[in-house]
């Protein structure tokens, strides 16, 4: 018998017990129309309560980004806009290996396996955004971050992002430049909160234990530079209608 089965069962039981203990059923936000919308239209693909996948098989099965920390991750204005005109953020889908086919020179993204995200009306997008802003998982991690306002030259930013840390291997900094297994970063400046970017770079596994982004032990100064570089890329909005 596969030894992982009973382990998984115990972990599930543990998670269930903890969720009963931690989340009393009288959450006020649960009554709002926005939260109802999230539960009815989003929760089948996005986890509203967490935790993040604890095994790689759960990771493979995840259909969309976790939302239990959406209020600490996303910028509200971006959510409102994106939900009305969704554009793919992960070029190879939620779990890249499920959307590849062999190519003559390298593995290629099999576009036929990718599905577009549903679009919402403006009114629903606003309701959803407001409800998402109330989901504040990992407040502790966010409180540890302080991103000072600042800027970085394009050449220095590219040096840090590509040559010093190798982020370009997996992330695109332009619609046709960079890797494909991670989310594109050329709209991340308007999509993500700076403290989230900083915290996620510092310790991706604290947010998502099994994610395929490594912890590269990036120091504080580099993290600040990366946040400023990612903010400087920001093409958010101008790509809203591209495929």
């Amino acid at each position: 018998m596969d030894i992982r089965m009973p382990i998984r069962a115990v972990l599930l039981a543990l998670a269930g017990l903890l969720s009963i203990a931690i989340h009393p059923a009288d959450s006020r936000a649960a009554d709002s129309p926005g939260m109802d919308l999230l539960k009815n239209r989003c929760a089948s693909c996005h986890s509203l309560t967490g935790p993040a996948p604890a095994s790689i098989h759960a990771l493979w099965a995840r259909k969309g980004p976790d939302f239990f920390y959406a209020g600490n991750k996303y910028q509200r204005s971006w959510i409102v806009s994106w939900l009305q005109h969704p554009v793919r953020i992960r070029p190879a889908g939620m779990f890249y290996a499920d959307h590849l086919k062999p190519g003559p020179k390298r593995d290629m993204v099999d576009e036929s396996t990718l599905r577009p995200h549903v679009a919402l009306s403006k009114a629903d997008a606003i309701l959803a955004a407001d409800a998402l802003m109330t989901l504040k998982g990992h407040n502790d991690l966010i409180k540890m971050e302080h991103v000072a306002p600042g800027s970085i030259s394009k050449s220095m930013g590219e040096m840090v992002f590509d040559k010093f840390l190798g982020c370009l291997a997996c992330h695109r900094t332009d619609p046709d430049y960079g890797g494909l297994s991670g989310p594109e970063l050329y709209t991340a400046g308007s999509r993500l909160r700076p403290e989230f970017i900083a915290s996620y770079i510092r310790n991706p596994q604290a947010w998502d234990p099994k994610i395929w982004m490594p912890d590269k032990h990036v120091n504080d100064a580099r993290i600040q530079q990366l946040v400023h570089y990612i903010e400087s890329l920001n093409l958010g909005g101008s790509h809203a209608s591209s495929p």
Binding site: I3, R4, I7, V10, L11, A13, L14, L17, L18, I20, A21, S55, I56, H57, L59, W60, A92, Y96, A97, L100, P102, G103, K105, R106, D107, M108, V109, D162, K163, F164, L165, G166, L168, A169, C170, Y177, G178, G179, L180, S181, N203, Q205, K210, W212, P214, D215, K216, H217
Partner: protein, 125 residues
């Protein structure tokens, strides 16, 4: 304490004890699954160095099916590269450290898996 809560606490205690007594090796994901999740993005689903990310990479990932090269690397080198990244064995920064993602026993299993991809051992093809 409410009797129901006592029961929860008891079950919780048992579960934690059970997990604490499990050897790390039993919790490890199979190397093949770890390879598909973490390595294939650059080294390719077939391990041939042709991952989906490689087009714009300044240094191309190693072809793990290349027995001639892979046999020149010791198991310790492969372990170090996997755990601490390419720089730790004077190779590219594009090979990241996986030591915060995979346990030591998972990395040992990965080294064994790499030997099946290259059909080779250190010092002999």
């Amino acid at each position: 304490m409410h009797p129901v809560h006592k029961t929860y606490a008891f079950i919780l205690g048992l579960a934690v004890l059970f997990l604490a007594l499990l050897p790390d090796a039993l919790l490890a994901a199979p190397a093949k699954d770890n390879y598909r999740t973490y390595c294939a993005q650059c080294h390719g689903l077939q391990g041939n160095g042709r991952g989906v990310n490689i087009r714009d990479m300044s240094v191309q990932p190693r072809n793990h099916t290349d027995g001639a090269y892979m046999s020149s690397r010791s198991d310790q080198d492969l372990f170090t590269a996997d755990k601490k990244g390419g720089l730790a064995i004077d190779k590219s920064v594009l090979m990241p450290p996986w030591g915060e993602t995979l346990s030591d026993s998972e990395i040992h299993n990965m080294v064994r898996y790499l030997r099946t991809l290259c059909h080779c051992q250190y010092g002999k093809q």
